[in-house]
Symmetry: C2
Subunit: 466 residues, 2 copies
């Protein structure tokens, strides 16, 4: 197969799409904004209807509140229900308030069960009751059961629509069944083979069904190494399984091992994104990404972490306060002291971030923890020595006192070593205590490196300078 482009053959309309041709463009957003403000609602509807549900969700998210409401009024009941499952929760709530319980009930009944449950679980109880009252009994049961599963569990994540076939069926019977069945899922990638009690015995990828001759039994071509997932499994564990074994779909089972649903990889991509975002936000002390949150909500949720940080900053100041007498005699110390604390904090955060990510990805465990700690302490020492020399020279040249250079160098080595040690021990310890290492590690770590940094530098100065 040749890769040479053949420019003579290409007409303009034949050019393959470029990256910027996909997704919602700035121009489309501006066009809709302009049309909304000019009252050209027919134009708005035309643009919106042409969009994929995911892009329409992006459009709704990127509009200011007034324009958003105007757009929703324009679309009215013609709003594609799929859009709801693509919206971020904060914006989805606004949209749901706009379309009301009746509109939402109708929208939910058009979605696959996992998407419906995901939207339903965020509603307050009264709203949930309103919705349930408007749904047919079968659908009501799916939602009620859905939210009865633990939060962040496989049960919440799964869709109830699944194709399970008896092991005794042949490939031909299976294909015939699928050609006539009405209640199949929209998308599926594997068939699950079950025994008469509906217990999962194996799976057959659709590609294998298509490649096998009709008389062959499903039990002959099934893969028995099926990674069934108990409905109680945490979604982070489920994501690990998909990632580890490159799964595309896998059955969810009840306590007796019976297939009750399936999880597909598109849900897992969402979970992976969420978990990654979660770790990133927690490390920075943001509850969850509040891009779409209201000002006051954002202020309040950020303040929580800032209060903790204020506490630790005051603690560091208390340490400095111990050395007021020293400081009043050598102001140079006040000028230099933030350097030691800052270097320790940054070196520690490097180690910490590697540890938190490795724990999340299950790359760090009891088997290699000791080696990791040892390595990080050595790296801390080596960088400590390098930066002791650099900082010592800077301090000496600045203030002309060799002793200050030596003292800041010694404090640097101590603090960088402590940074390496606490950057590993803090997250490993929190993990052991079943506390999410992402959420609390940063506070502990910088408190330690600030306190040790100020104490080592000012303490050594108090002993040797005075």
């Amino acid at each position: 197969m040749s890769l040479d482009p053949q420019p003579t053959e290409i007409l303009v309309e034949d050019a393959p799409p470029a990256a910027e041709d996909y997704g919602l463009s700035e121009e489309q957003i501006q066009e809709v904004q302009a049309a909304l403000e000019a009252g050209e609602f027919a134009r708005v509807e035309e643009v919106a209807q042409a969009l994929h549900a995911a892009d329409l969700a992006d459009l709704i998210e990127s509009l200011a509140t007034d324009d958003r409401n105007l757009l929703l009024d324009t679309l009215g009941p013609s709003l594609d229900p799929e859009v709801l499952s693509y919206l971020v929760p904060a914006v989805r709530q606004d949209v749901i308030e706009k379309i009301g319980p009746k509109g939402l009930a109708s929208a939910l009944s058009h979605l696959e069960s996992d998407d419906a449950v995901e939207i339903f679980e965020d509603l307050d109880e009264e709203f949930q009751r309103h919705i349930l009252a408007q749904l047919p009994a079968g659908y009501r049961l799916v939602l009620e059961e859905g939210i009865a599963f633990p939060e962040y569990s496989a049960g919440r994540l799964m869709q109830r629509e699944v194709v399970a076939v008896p092991a005794a069926w042949s490939v031909g019977e299976t294909i015939d069944f699928m050609r006539t069945a009405h209640e199949l899922p929209d998308d599926f990638y594997d068939l699950f083979v079950v025994d008469p009690k509906h217990k999962c015995q194996g799976f057959v990828p659709l590609s294998r069904v298509l490649r096998t001759r009709r008389p062959v039994k499903m039990s002959e071509v099934m893969d028995t190494d099926v990674k069934t997932i108990p409905f109680t499994m945490d979604q982070e564990e489920v994501a690990y399984l998909f990632r580890q074994y490159g799964l595309v779909s896998t059955p969810v089972v009840d306590d007796a091992g019976r297939v009750i649903g399936m999880i597909t990889v598109d849900d897992i991509v969402r979970v992976i994104d969420e978990e990654a975002e979660d770790d990133l936000m927690k490390l920075a002390g943001v509850g969850e990404s509040d891009l779409y949150g209201r000002v006051w909500q954002t202020t309040r949720s950020r303040a929580t972490w800032l209060v903790v940080n204020l506490g630790t900053a005051v603690l560091a100041s208390l340490v400095i306060g111990l050395f007021e007498a020293t400081l009043s005699q050598a102001v140079a110390l006040a000028v230099l002291m933030p350097i030691v604390a800052s270097m320790g904090g940054n070196a520690g955060m490097q180690t910490l971030t590697v540890a938190v990510r490795a724990l999340a990805m299950k790359d760090l465990s009891a088997a290699n923890a000791m080696r990791f700690i040892g390595k990080e302490v050595i790296v801390g020492c080596l960088n400590g020595v390098i930066f002791a020399v650099l900082t010592g020279l800077v301090a000496y040249l600045w203030f002309g006192q060799p002793l200050i250079g030596v003292i800041i160098g010694a404090a640097m080595v101590v603090n960088m070593m402590v940074a390496g040690l606490s950057g590993t021990l803090v997250p490993l310890g929190l993990e052991k205590l079943k506390i999410d290492p992402a959420v609390a590690s940063g506070v502990f770590l910088t408190t330690i490196t600030d306190v040790v940094g100020f104490f080592a530098f000012l303490g050594l100065a108090a002993v040797f300078v005075l």
Copy 2:
């Protein structure tokens, strides 16, 4: 479908697996370690052969170098080639050195083209030549073309094995073709429909092929809204497409729009993990996760960022140095000054992290940038006022001077507002300049909040206290 567990039916061996039953267990690692050290190589081989390739890769990664080499010697040529594609690059390099060019050439020829290219691209040129010399011509071409594509492009990511069928074929002809074809990919989820020039016209999910009667033409059931990917597209863009539209596989096309390969969702899960890890590591000033890196490599790569941090810390010290006279007259200032800088730095990092993530996920764009900046400045002001009051009170109670309380409060409001502003402007500006906002934002931001924090606090003190 009922979810009631039926405990009377469950025998012990029927219990469905729990989360901890999947993946490599600590016990298995310890068992292999013990067997290796006791020289029970038959036992080692037995445990290793029973593992999934992904788990065997984890086992190899978690062993210390000596044990790792012993395990590789034990397995010898029976090592499953798939294992190579699951290893992290640092460990993979060790394994490749161990098995040599001949072993690697044989391993590569057993892998799908995307996995083979991924391993091949990391080798140095001489090693690559050695490998190529040992491969059959067809396979050689695939590797040579593979690494000719730009790094991190769709071309590198794709596999060449793909099922493309003519639009004129019926479902029956397609199924018959698949039953007899030999060179099909191991796993595939969609069939791509092409015209006589091999240009992509649409796709048909396998589930739809199975549900459709034999006489129906592929062109009648195909979805023409196919998201073809030019081979030059950046992998981050590709991941965005998969995520945005919930894709499972999609064709890669050349400049003329001809199908030359496909990308599947399992590769995208890897890309998403890599990109998330990348942002996390860059924000913390770690080049890339160096969990498996050697001590000296790790020390050196971390030192690069620490040098930058030293520069900014010295800059902050220079600002403090401007106020030596003030500090020598009021040591309380030296005790309190880190609080202002620390609070500004943390508030700014909160904003920055939200912005960096939103940019990566394409949630932040020109359309909503102004609204985001405005909101963050207001949040900064509000939290500034809250923490001005808190910190002012602490300072007043500690040192008994109301003026110091007022000054630290004023400095806090200024710094938190600046934090909100620079936490948004810095990443947006870097993005505009086509610099990865994750990599450089943190340095800029903390430099700004340190300098402004120290300057505002000490400057106000110099004016009003003295």
